[in-house]
Symmetry: D3
Subunit: 148 residues, 6 copies
C-alpha cells in the first residue's frame, strides 16, 4: 500500500505564542481613501445619500478590529483593551489612523491594520453612489511597541 | 415636556433595493501589497515562517467576500454565486485581483473590494515576521457590469 | 437491546417555508429605553463619555438585523432589502422604531424586533457610565404586512 | 488647500480598560415577555408549533452572551467564565434572569443584558405563530459586583 | 524584472453556480456518536452535568447548518428553507440524522453534513465530563435529490 | 394565580470555570475521511475541480477551532495560543490530526475536535464532485494534558 506523508514544507501554520510574555502592546496603522473633491464636499456636509460616512466608518473599523482573527486565518484571537479610529479630511480624500492596545502574548498590528482597511471600505461604500473612482492607498503600520 | 425629533439628516441609512431588478451582476477589484524583494523571494519559495502565503490569502479573501455585509454596516446581505481571488507576483510585491458575481438586486463591488482587502491583510500577516515595511496600495474597482 | 426513539413532541423544530410565496414583506417594531433626565441631556448634547449614542445605536441595530438568524435558533436566514432604525428623544428616555423589508418566503418581524433590541442594548452601553437605572421597555411588533 | 481636522467631540470611542484590575466580576439582569394566558398554557405543555420554547431560549441567550462584543459596537471582547439563563413562568408571561461571570478588566453587565434580550426575542419567535401581541418588558440590570 | 504569473493549477476555487437552475433541493445526512452504556443511561435520564444533551445538540446542529458557508471555505452562502436534526438513542450511542432543504442554484449536502457534525460535537461536549472514550463515526450523505 | 418555577433538572447549563487554575493545556484529536482510491489520486495530484483540498482543509480547520464557542452552545470562549491541523494520505483516504494549545482555565479538546471535524467536512466539499461515497470516521480525542 502506497503511503505518503504530506510534506509540511510550505503548509500554512499558526505560530505558537504560548511561551511569549503577557505585556502591554500597542500598534498604530494608517491609510487613505482618495476621493473627488466634490465627494469630499458632500462628506463634510453630511449630504451623502447613505448619511454620515465618518461615524459609520469609525464604528465599522472598531467592530472589525475585534473580529480580526475571524478574517485573517492564522491570527490569534485577542481581546483588545482599546481600539480607536480617527480621520483627517482634506480636499482630495480622507486619511485614516487606527490604534489598538492589548495585554497579551502577541502583537496587535493586524487589528490596527484591519480597523484601517474596514474603515476605508466603509467610506468607499458610503460614497460610492457619487464617486466611481475612489482608491484605498497606503495602508501600513505606523508604530508598534511594548510597554511595562 | 421638551420633545426633540432627531433630525434624520446625516444619519446613516441603508438603501432600499426592493424595487431593483434581479439580474446577473459582476464586479472586479484589484490592489497590491508592496514588499521587500527578499520577502518576495521567500514567498515564491514557500519559505515564509507561516507557510504558503498566496493560498492562505486566496482562501481568506473568498471567505471574507461571503461575509461582506457583516463588516460594512450598510451593505446588503448577498449570496454570491462566485468569488475568486488571483495573484501576480513580481520583484517588489504581489498584485491582487478579485471577481464577484451574483444574481440579485444590488451590485457586488463591495464583495470584490473586501476580497482584495482581506487577501492583502492576510499576505501582510503571512509575511510580517520578515518584512516590517509592507504597504497595501491601490485598492479599487476595476470593472462593474450587468448581464442578461 | 433496548431501543428508544426520542419522542419528537416538544423538540425544537424549524418551520419549512419552501412552499410559501416569495412576496414583498414589511415589518415595523418599537421599544423604549427609559433614562434619567440628566442622561438624556448628555445624550442630546453628545457629551456622553463614549460619544454619539444615537448614531452608534442605529448602526448596531441595522447590523444586528442582518444577523438575526445567527441569534435566534429557528429563524430562517434572510437577505433583507432594507432595514432602518429611528429614534425619538424626550425628557425621560429614547423611543426606538425599526423597519425591515424583504422579498422572500417568510416574514421579517424578528429582524425588526432584533434591530430594536440591539439598538436599545447599545444605547444602554453608551449611557451606562452615567446612568445605572435604565430599563428597556415595550419591545413589540407594530405592523406586519405583505405587498404586491 | 483646505484642511479640516474632524472634531472628535461626539465621536464614538471605546474606553481603554488596559489599566483596570483583573478581578472576578458578576452581573445579573432580568426582563419579561408578556403573553396571552393561552400562549403560556401551550408553552407549559410544550405544545407550541416550534417546540420547547424555554430550552431553546436558554441556549440562545447563553450563545448570544458569548458574542456580545460582536453586537454592541464599543463593548470589549470578553471570555466569560459562566453564563446562565433562568425562567419563571406565570399566567401572563415568562420572567427571565441571566447571570454572567468573568475574571477580567471590565464588567459583564452587557453580557447579562444581551442574554436576557436574546432569550426574550427567542421566546417571541417560538410563540409568534399563536400570539401576535407579546411585549418584551423591563430589561434591566439587577446586580453588579466584584469579588476577591 | 522577473515576473511570475502564479500558476492557477491546484489553487482553490469556488464553482460558479450562476447558470444553475433554481429548483427545490433536499439533502439528508447521518452519523453516530458511540458512547459508554453508562453515558447513554445518564443522557436518557437527562442526568448529565451539563443538562439535556439531545435538545442542545439539535439546536446547535440547526444553527451550524445556517452558517455552513462561514465554515467551509468554498461553499456558497445559502438561505435554507428548512433544517432539522433527529436522534435515535440505543444502548451504545446516539444516531444522528439531519435534513436540509432549499430553493436555490446549488445543493445542500454540506448543510446537512455540517448539522450532523456539529450536533455530534455538541453531544460530545455535553457528555465529556463522564465519558472520555466517545467517537464520532459514519458521517455521510444518505440522500440528495431535486424536486419540481 | 398559578405559578410554576421551571424545574432546572435537565436544563442545559454552562460549567463555571472561574475557580479553575490558569495552566497550559494541550489537546490532540484525530479522524479520517474514507475515499475512493481514484479520489485520493486526484487529491494527491491537486487535480480536483475545486483545487488543493489539503491546504484548504487545513485553513478551514484552524479557523473553525478559533470559533468553537460559537458552534458548541455551552463551550467557553477561549483564545487558543496555537492550533495546527495535519494530514496523512494513504490509498483509501486521508487521516487528520489536530492539536490545540492554550493557557486558560479550561481544556481545549473541543477546539481540537472541531478542527478535525471542519477539516474533514472541507475535504468532503473539495472532493464531492468526483466522489459520492465518502465517510467521516473515527473523530476522537487522542491526548489531553496539562503542563507546568
Amino acid at each position: 500500500m502506497e503511503f505518503s506523508h504530506i510534506d509540511r514544507e510550505g503548509a500554512s501554520r499558526m505560530v505558537d505564542v504560548g511561551e511569549k510574555a503577557t505585556v502591554r502592546r500597542i500598534a498604530r496603522a494608517s491609510g487613505r481613501v482618495t476621493m473627488d473633491p466634490q465627494t469630499v464636499r458632500l462628506l463634510r456636509e453630511k449630504a451623502l445619500p447613505k448619511g454620515d460616512a465618518l461615524n459609520t466608518a469609525r464604528i465599522a473599523g472598531v467592530m472589525a478590529a475585534k473580529r480580526t482573527s475571524e478574517l485573517i486565518p492564522l491570527c490569534h484571537g485577542l481581546n483588545v483593551t482599546f481600539v480607536d479610529v480617527d480621520f483627517e479630511v482634506d480636499d482630495t480624500g480622507v486619511g485614516i489612523t487606527a490604534e489598538a492596545r492589548i495585554s497579551d502574548r502577541t502583537g496587535v498590528e493586524m487589528e490596527a491594520l484591519t480597523a484601517v482597511s474596514v474603515a476605508a471600505l466603509t467610506l468607499y461604500d458610503m460614497c460610492k453612489a457619487v464617486d466611481k473612482g475612489m482608491t484605498i492607498e497606503g495602508v501600513r503600520l505606523v508604530e508598534k511597541r511594548k510597554e511595562g
